[in-house]
């Protein structure tokens, strides 16, 4: 497993007939083309934040594949005609659609664009060792074009396949992401809202796999109190999915953006660990080794490095962020100097996602106070307040 390298550069990557079907991350901009996740990872990449290198199978590829599969739109019209309350009918029809999508061969143009991008990812853009490419482990994730969070979750935003190895498997998992658009729940949801099936589309992000030592999420404001002066970090050993799925109570750390102090360290008893298997179905859930269970999954240097990156990302977007991150293995040397330790740790951090924080952003905020005619009036009103 290699660490994060600089992403494949734009020009020259994915060139040829299929260029529009595979977009390298550094060129991923328009959510309508690369989906929300793809656009966000592209922006992070361009902002100089380390993300695992990769490419996006663009919406156009999905469209191309669906056109080949359903040239006159009859299949999608059939889906659109399903009554939203007839779950049996939905289950029957969508199972057929999913099978078609996952079993039909990809159009040549799409398959070769993905192949080209995958080869480049494996070789870092050079052509030296073509054998490496077949062993490049990647993560394949759906990247919805609909940003509405409820719709996005039904649209299969959660679909993530880890440890995908080899071109046939990459092709296969891209198709599985597409097929997730036709999950029973997604279709039932669209039917309830009477959304046109013609507007349904998806991009797929393919990134070099990272095997994190620890991973988690972080918010550039407190998720509990909404405080914007802190970065709240949650972490566990291994894959962050253990935390997202609720299989572990994560370690929690709070860092002041102003003083840099780690004001809260809550080390949880982390009973499970998520690991991935190459081309395996999802992740495996294992018992946490006892030697790690009650040990903090991050050092102070790593906590500070994460907080610094969180602030950088927040400053880039100009709004509080909800960030998924991973920390790669790296010697684990303990440096007495806090700044050096943080700098060393920063080299090993990659971001998997950043999106705007929505919960507190949507809330009405009561101002903490307002200026008064004289400063002393603040004290006078304090003691004038009834109990």
């Amino acid at each position: 497993m290699t660490g994060p390298a600089s992403p494949p550069s734009g020009p020259g990557s994915g060139s040829g007939s299929g260029r529009e079907f595979a977009v390298s991350l550094i060129d991923a901009r328009d959510p309508a083309v690369v989906g929300g996740k793809g656009a966000s990872l592209g922006e992070l990449t361009r902002a100089g934040v380390a993300v695992p290198p990769g490419f996006v199978v663009a919406v156009a590829a999905f469209t191309e594949a669906m056109t080949a599969l359903d040239p006159d739109g009859a299949l999608r019209a059939e889906v659109e005609a399903l009554p939203s309350d007839d779950l049996d009918a939905i289950a029957t029809v969508t199972a057929r659609v999913r099978a078609l999508i996952t079993e039909a061969p990809l159009p040549d143009s799409v398959a070769s664009a993905i192949a080209h991008a995958y080869v480049e990812l494996g070789t870092g853009g050079g052509a030296e060792d073509i054998l490496v490419l077949v062993n490049t482990e990647v993560a394949v994730r759906s990247s919805a074009t609909v940003e509405d969070s409820a719709a996005a979750s039904f649209a299969g935003l959660q679909d993530t396949y880890l440890g995908v190895v080899g071109l046939p498997s990459v092709h296969d998992h891209v198709c599985r992401c597409w097929a997730s658009l036709y999950n029973d729940e997604s279709v039932a949801y669209r039917r309830r809202l009477r959304l046109p099936e013609a507007g349904v589309s998806m991009a797929v992000v393919v990134q070099r796999m990272v095997a994190p030592r620890a991973a988690g999420v972080m918010f550039t404001r407190s998720p509990v109190t909404g405080d914007r002066s802190v970065v709240a970090i949650e972490a566990t050993w291994g894959l962050g999915s253990a935390l997202v799925s609720g299989d572990v109570t994560p370690d929690a750390f709070i860092v002041s953006k102003v003083t840099g102090e780690i004001t809260t360290r809550r080390v949880a008893s982390k009973i499970k660990i998520h690991r991935y298997r190459s081309n395996g179905p999802g992740v495996t859930v294992e018992d946490m080794p006892t030697s790690l269970r009650d040990v903090a999954s991050l050092t102070d240097g790593e906590i500070r490095a994460l907080a610094a990156i969180a602030r950088q990302v927040e400053a880039h977007y100009g709004a509080p962020q909800d960030i998924e991150w991973a920390l790669l293995d790296g010697g684990g040397s303990v440096d007495a100097d806090a700044d050096i330790a943080a700098a060393a740790a920063a080299e090993r951090i990659v971001l998997l996602q950043s999106r705007p924080e929505t919960v507190w952003a949507a809330r009405e905020r009561t101002p903490a106070g307002a200026a008064k005619p004289r400063p002393a009036d603040h004290v006078l009103s304090l003691f004038g307040k009834p109990l």
């Binding site: 102003v258 106070g369 603040h378």
Partner: protein, 600 residues
């Protein structure tokens, strides 16, 4: 133990076996009354972590009459009258008298506004005048003499037609000492309640705007850098540098004894004399700093017991020899303070909030010098002189045979001291022995015995019904009593001591519990200091320790400020840390959460 639903009622507190006679030490007006069961009381462990010797109850009686007068009668605080205190089994419980009737609050507010506003508007000049008044009080108490009761009066008393004999001044002078102590406390509270009020509004504003902000971070924005509470420690550093300069530094070795060093210096010629002269200058007033907060007679000052300064001096001397003592990085501290303040200011969402922030922070910094420095004038300088003077009366009583030793005077209430002085006065005049010599010694012996028994009692943190809402700003301001604190009291963790998070960081280490400043020489490098009070006089030992834990103190206490400057974790105001932690325990001090966990 199964946890009861609430706290016991005052009437349910049983006498501690073996000390059933504790009431004999305290005045009637400190007793719980039947109606007190209806109110919520909390144990003031912050100021009174030990059972009260009879004389020391004056440190409750006098401050509470001064504080209440200030809030209820002088400034007419709208929502707060005064504080009532009670003593049970030797411990001081208090409750605040709130004003609840909205019409009454409004009526009081009309008075309060102009009165408090006047002090804030003229704060600096009023503080200058205040310092003059305090210095005058100190000069006055220093000038009071204890009559020596000669065999007969000097002839000049007759030829000068003075007409008044010395025994008269026994009581007059003692009364003056008490009166000055009361005046000092009135001045102590004169500006303090308003000053704390400025802190409270800023703390509340910051907590509203930044719910995760720690009290210590708010305190860092407020803290002044040049305050006189640093002077005693600075004087020690200066003396250490001088010792090296004069070549007498060889005398300051680890574990050196003050008396031996002083006598050795006398045989060191001009250099020794020069150092002793510098020491003499530093001692008045800077060595009047108390090893406590002035609430117990046995919290001695550096001048009373040179152990603390002479424990710190060898370290400072070694530093001075090795290229000089690093001065406090005041510019850096000021820069940090400004960086933090502007960092939070920028995070505020609106310019109106920023303007409010500026006003409140400005007000805090205006009042800060008084709030920090008043302690030196009041709790240290004046109070050291006060207890010394009372002890001088004790010496006279001991010479007269009424009590066995001078310190025994502190086991008599001040009204009983007054009685004893009347007895001595009568006896001197009559030419007979005082009758107290058969009256007081057994009483004092019994009280000393009871205090030892009472020291082992674990007082409940609170008594009486828990109020539905407890947000009295005065109570929160002075004692940090909040609904959360009460909830924690009701569900204590046996291995965790909870206090105020005073200085950030987490450290594990071996605890050294020191009950008295005289034990300070047992402290080893890297230990965690656990003490009743981390008074400014302890500051010099901060260079040796890994963390500080105390029974008394808040986030704005001097010890907390010093700990933050040393960058060491500190948890203060724990109430019973010195009781629950033992020397040699391995403990984890969490200066972020304000907890100390006993690990083994």
């Amino acid at each position: 133990m199964t946890e009861p639903a609430g706290f016991p009622l005052p009437s349910q507190i049983a006498d501690v076996p073996g000390a059933e006679n504790w009431r004999s030490m305290y005045r009637y007006f400190t007793r719980f009354q039947p109606d007190d069961d209806k109110r919520f009381w909390f144990y003031n462990s912050m100021h009174f972590p030990e059972p009260m010797p009879a004389f020391d109850t004056i440190t409750g009686e006098v401050p509470y009459q001064a504080i209440g007068a200030n809030t209820a009668r002088l400034f007419v605080f709208p929502t707060t009258l005064g504080i009532e205190h009670r003593i049970v089994n030797g411990r001081v419980y208090i409750t605040a008298n709130p004003v609840l009737d909205p019409a009454e609050i409004e009526r009081r507010a009309a008075e309060f506004g102009p009165r408090a506003g006047y002090y804030f508007e003229h704060w600096d000049s009023l503080y200058e005048g205040w310092k003059d008044r305090l210095r005058a009080l100190i000069a006055e108490i220093e000038s009071i003499s204890v009559p020596s009761l000669p065999e007969w009066e000097p002839a000049e008393v007759v030829f000068g037609a003075v007409g008044v004999a010395q025994n008269h001044y026994l009581q007059e002078n003692f009364h003056r000492v008490l009166a000055l102590y009361s005046k000092m406390w009135h001045h102590h509270t004169e500006m303090l309640m308003l000053g704390y009020g400025a802190y409270v509004v800023f703390f509340q504003f910051c907590q509203q705007a930044f719910p995760e902000i720690s009290d210590q971070t708010v305190a860092r924005m407020v803290a002044g850098i040049d305050v006189i509470m640093y002077r005693p420690d600075d004087e020690l550093k200066r003396l250490a540098a001088l010792a090296v300069e004069l070549g007498v530094d060889d005398l300051f070795t680890e574990g050196c004894v003050a008396a031996d060093v002083l006598s050795a210096l006398e045989s060191r010629g001009a250099a020794g004399a020069q150092w002793l002269e510098a020491l003499g200058k530093a001692r008045d007033p800077w060595f009047h700093v108390s090893s406590g907060d002035g609430f117990y007679h046995h919290h001695l000052s550096w001048n009373d017991d040179l152990t603390v300064p002479f424990t710190a001096l060898p370290g400072y001397v070694a530093a001075a020899r090795g290229g000089g003592i690093r001065p406090r990085p005041t510019e850096q501290l000021i820069a940090d303070r400004e960086r933090i303040a502007s960092g939070y200011r920028e995070l505020l969402a609106t310019s109106d909030e920023q303007a409010a922030f500026d006003q409140m922070l400005g007000l805090c910094r205006l009042v800060f010098p008084f709030v920090e420095d008043h302690k030196f004038y009041c709790e240290h300088w004046f109070t050291t002189r006060f207890f010394q003077k009372v002890k001088a009366f004790g010496e006279l009583l001991a010479r007269s045979g009424v009590i066995a030793a001078a310190d025994d005077v502190f086991h008599l209430h001040h009204t009983e001291v007054d009685e004893a002085l009347a007895d001595v006065s009568l006896a001197w005049a009559a030419g007979s022995p005082p009758l107290g010599s058969s009256h007081f010694p057994p009483i004092i012996a019994e009280r000393k015995r009871m205090l030892k028994v009472l020291a082992d009692w674990s007082p409940p943190p609170a008594l009486g019904p828990v109020p539905e809402a407890l947000n009295d700003p005065a109570v929160r301001m002075l004692w940090g009593i909040t609904s959360e604190r009460i909830a924690a009291w009701l569900n204590p963790d046996p291995d965790e001591v909870v206090g105020v998070a005073a200085s950030s960081g987490i450290v594990e280490g071996i605890a050294r519990v020191l009950h008295d400043v005289s034990e300070i020489s047992s402290l080893r490098d890297g230990e965690i200091l656990v003490v009743p009070v981390t008074a400014p006089s302890w500051a010099p030992v901060f260079a040796k320790i890994a963390a500080a834990v105390s029974d008394i103190g808040g986030a704005m206490s001097h010890a907390a400020i010093v700990a933050r400057e040393y960058g060491m974790p500190a948890v203060v105001g724990c109430g019973d840390a010195t009781k629950r932690i033992r020397t040699g325990d391995r403990v984890r001090v969490d200066g972020d959460r304000g907890t100390v966990r006993v690990l083994e």
